[in-house]
């Protein structure tokens, strides 16, 4: 449960930090509409996440911590194509969009691969591709690199940095958010700090002991 808060998130790069169980994920899930607020409203571009949920479909991407559980079809390209069924009735157009998105992320070689055979890093990139096919305006990353090894972490960071969309990144890996414009620090369900990365991280290090 989160304490009541009122925020306006206009910056392009926003970090969210805090200990496990501090409310970071609860907060993130309010933004993309996975959870409805018990009080008040969450609005994106003037649209309410509950009342206008359908209009917001596909506009907020969400990348989870566990790479494997985000790809739900056996083959990467199939998974990406499935995400477009509701918005593009023509199969050729869907396949073109899939190919274009894979190319943009430089992972065209992963399109025909079976998800089961991919490494964690490749799966996270595939999950990112699956999110990007719907051309989201905002992407939330919930601990995107914590289950990856160092090399895959760098790959993912590079891919994330190249994205034009607004990003909200929850991360234990402070290096990921230290260049951001704004960082929110959660603790015990409360927003403890809302400031520049340097200040928020300093607070974090205090409470982390």
């Amino acid at each position: 449960m989160l304490e009541p808060l009122t925020l306006s998130l206009q910056e392009r790069l926003i970090g969210v930090i805090g200990l496990n169980g501090s409310g970071k994920t609860s907060f993130a899930r309010l933004i993309n509409g996975l959870t409805a607020p018990s009080q008040g409203h969450v609005r994106l571009d003037g649209l309410d996440t509950v009342a206008d949920a359908e209009a917001l479909m596909g506009r907020v991407g969400y990348i989870f911590q566990n790479p494997a559980n985000q790809i739900i079809m056996p083959i990467v390209a199939e998974d990406m194509e499935f995400g477009l069924r509701n918005r593009e009735p023509d199969k050729t157009a869907r396949m073109e969009k899939v190919a274009a998105t894979l190319n943009a992320l430089e992972i065209a070689h992963l399109g025909a691969r079976r998800a089961h055979e991919l490494s964690g890093g490749e799966l996270q990139l595939a999950a990112l591709a699956a999110m990007l096919v719907t051309d989201p305006d905002l992407i939330i990353f919930d601990e995107p690199t914590s289950q990856l090894d160092i090399r895959n972490r760098r790959l993912m960071e590079r891919a994330m940095a190249a994205l034009p969309q607004q990003r909200i990144v929850i991360s234990h890996d402070l290096a990921l958010i230290e260049d951001f414009e704004r960082v929110l620090l959660f603790h015990d369900g409360r927003l403890l700090a809302d400031a520049t990365p340097a200040i928020a991280i300093a607070h974090y290090q205090e409470i982390a002991g």
Binding site: L34, F64, A68, I71, I72
Partner: protein, 205 residues
């Protein structure tokens, strides 16, 4: 992956799925209403002609039918010995014919063609609000996606048991396998909902 579809061309490949299934059903009924051994004898011959000329190498085509054909033969032999001989022969002819034509439908129909047809058949239920027709394709994909993960999980459990010197017994293996698999549910469901894969967004508390 592993599929029983076999690439090829020919009349059976061009027939729509619905037509093939209807023909097969009609054939089944016709076979069980026929009592003439001579008419029925033509069945397996025609069936074999059709099935074995589809393009599959003979050995492979035959091997696929072996388990079913074995049960057909064994039960027919059993019938022959303990019950009426004539009925046993008719039974053998009927089932063998059905088996061959059923295998032909399977070999000439792609999985996605089947799934599309079943989804289409469920659209009326969709409109009535009883189910989401597109969930079938999603459920299907989920199963094929996660079977190899479960097998890998099984091997990990087995290796962990061996390392600890524990005996491999069904109970000690299957219990963690099921628990660990079920525990992935929430993460997978969250990913599906976050991507809006089921049409309307689902908000959970």
């Amino acid at each position: 992956m592993r599929t029983l579809y076999a690439e090829g061309t020919g009349p059976f490949y061009r027939l729509p799925v619905r037509a093939k299934l209807l023909l097969l059903a009609t054939l089944g009924v016709a076979l069980f209403l026929t009592r003439s051994p001579f008419v029925l004898a033509a069945g397996p011959i025609l069936g074999a002609l059709v099935y074995f000329t589809l393009g599959l190498p003979f050995g492979l085509a035959a091997r696929r039918l072996r388990p079913v054909f074995l049960t057909i033969i064994i039960v027919a032999a059993f019938s022959f010995l303990v019950s009426e001989a004539e009925e046993a022969v008719l039974q053998l002819l009927r089932l063998t014919t059905l088996m061959l034509f059923a295998a032909t439908v399977t070999a000439t129909t792609t999985i996605s063609a089947f799934i599309d047809e079943i989804t289409r058949l469920c659209r009326p239920l969709d409109r009535l609000g009883l189910m989401r027709a597109d969930d079938i394709g999603l459920a299907f994909g989920l199963v094929v996606r996660f079977v190899p993960e479960i097998m890998t999980r099984y091997e990990a459990i087995r290796d962990a048991h061996r390392a600890r010197g524990l005996k491999i017994r069904p109970i000690t293996m299957i219990m963690p396998l099921i628990l660990l698999t079920l525990r992935e549910t929430d993460q997978i469901a969250a990913a599906i909902d976050a991507r809006g894969l089921r049409g309307h967004s689902i908000t959970t508390k």
